[in-house]
Homo-oligomer: 340 residues x 2
Amino acid sequence: MPTISDVSRLAGVSKTTVSRVLNAPELVNRKTRERVLGVIKKLDYAPSMIARGMRGQKTRMIGVIIPDFTNLYYSEFLKHVEECAIGEGYLALICSTEANREKEKEFIEMLRRRQIEGLILCRYEGVKEDEDFFVRLARDIPIVITDQASRGLPLSAVLTDSRKGIRTLTAHLIERGCRKIAILGGRRIYPFAVERFGGYTDALNAAGIALDERLCEECDCTADGGYRAAERILNRVLPEAFVAVTDLIAIGALRCIQSGGYAVPGDIALGGFDNILLSLLTSPRLTTVEQPIEEIAREAVGQLIRKVRNKRVRNRDIVLENRLIVRESTGAVKREKVLD
Amino acid sequence: MPTISDVSRLAGVSKTTVSRVLNAPELVNRKTRERVLGVIKKLDYAPSMIARGMRGQKTRMIGVIIPDFTNLYYSEFLKHVEECAIGEGYLALICSTEANREKEKEFIEMLRRRQIEGLILCRYEGVKEDEDFFVRLARDIPIVITDQASRGLPLSAVLTDSRKGIRTLTAHLIERGCRKIAILGGRRIYPFAVERFGGYTDALNAAGIALDERLCEECDCTADGGYRAAERILNRVLPEAFVAVTDLIAIGALRCIQSGGYAVPGDIALGGFDNILLSLLTSPRLTTVEQPIEEIAREAVGQLIRKVRNKRVRNRDIVLENRLIVRESTGAVKREKVLD
DNA sequence: ATGAAAGCGCTAACAA
DNA sequence: TTGTTAGCGCTTTCAT
């Protein structure tokens, strides 16, 4: 790779001039500029971001940490995050922790050592549980978390009202005549799962339905987790409906329910949360609470970059809207055939 | 973030000594070393990889470019690539191009400017089509591509025998009594798709079945692409089976077939390729050609790092085994109910 | 066993 | 308008 010195030598100017051609072209004479540009092109020169980062602390990189590459919710999120970051001139360093807190710490360390300018952090666990760690980290770099509130920590958050979302979904099921509604709840230690479980009980309460522990199961936030949890419930009781706290969990549950010979929604209705692309590709299609994934990504990147550019921007929690999308999986009647 | 100077000052030694404590501890006196280590710990110091990269050209970063975050084949691939890279002490800079060659070029440029030491490149299109570009790039950094052969270019490749895989799958379908077998083929300009299409015709030829163009459709490598392509075929003819060149395409097709009121495999059998996790979660479960995704990732990283460490390691194509996994979607009989 | 000095590629302050 | 100089944080000779 050619360096700025190669260019300056060939163009017969100082390195400063070359630098200016790239960073403040208006300050350099048109003739000179064109000559330099010519050499730059000929050598296929591009300034090293490493050296640039070294000099001015500006690496133009942000870190993005997610719990799982194979969780399609995050796949979609990443796609938009990357696009927004590029739009702002930043490269996103993406890491997946496999929901392992040790790995998360290691990644954060690796990213810090590479001088990322900000961090978007997605994790199932609450940040409150590692409060000291994040408070210290936030002194170095701006942080934006998603799907959980900042709860007083010095960082920003982007989320939707999960509780309301699941409440609406559950109410919809109740309205369709279901009373024995099971919940596949993720892990209760996850803030988002706590919220969503809260929405479920809210709706039950409002309808005067008692909470039945036999209808509640925790699970990993994976399709397989959903499958197993649904299995455990079906082994002891036959619900009229399942509420899953994420679409991925719902998709696993769907497979389990259908494997058991039950029709969805004929025998058992099913609803999810997130509206991932895949929720349109199940048979039947999945009723779900839509999260505006692209908007979440855009706000996360936007808020982060604002803070990166101006450290004095204050942290804030950005709450976006979610909404129920009713599809076939909670259809009221026994389906004979799915029409398109 | 504290620097090496902060540490050296507090420990009352030179920067050189601090550096040595980290990079060649045996060269420094035990007492001194411990004192320095103490300060390092107290300050929570970690050497800047930026500065390190600046000095020695060793950034300990590799680039990984994939076409699509929401393609679960790549999700699984990334998971393993990242893990292997970390294992070798490297951070993987992951980018998704959305199958856009302009974006791909831009990412490669961004990565080069960040001085990645090597590149793992996954793309649907053949590298041969951008031969000059890659030949030039390969002079700077080692490259490993996946799912296509290197075809004489100065880079390594990791792949399986796609042609054989699809041939086996198609033969399996023929053996089950299908003769009108449709293919959802990806884009014919993609080398992997050409290979797989070849395997399909191989099997037809071997069985004396004539190729019927009405049974052939190209499509994007997405579930939606599979859905639409299956739809186009079903609009003109009713096949006894579908062969999809990837599981994702198969999953879209499955949805389309079932939406049309056909039973799988009762009315129409279906097979895919890749054995992504999701192929186990459809109803019915998907017959598919397993790609050893983890092994592909491991070999890709392994070969790349070998070359990074020693530029003289010669490029090679590593061909791994794939194998047919028969599941319910090509079951011979009309299913009444799926048992687990 | 330890340190001083140079230099990686760049940009910013200052000078001309 | 252009150039000179210094320095970002580190590693690596070369001395001591």
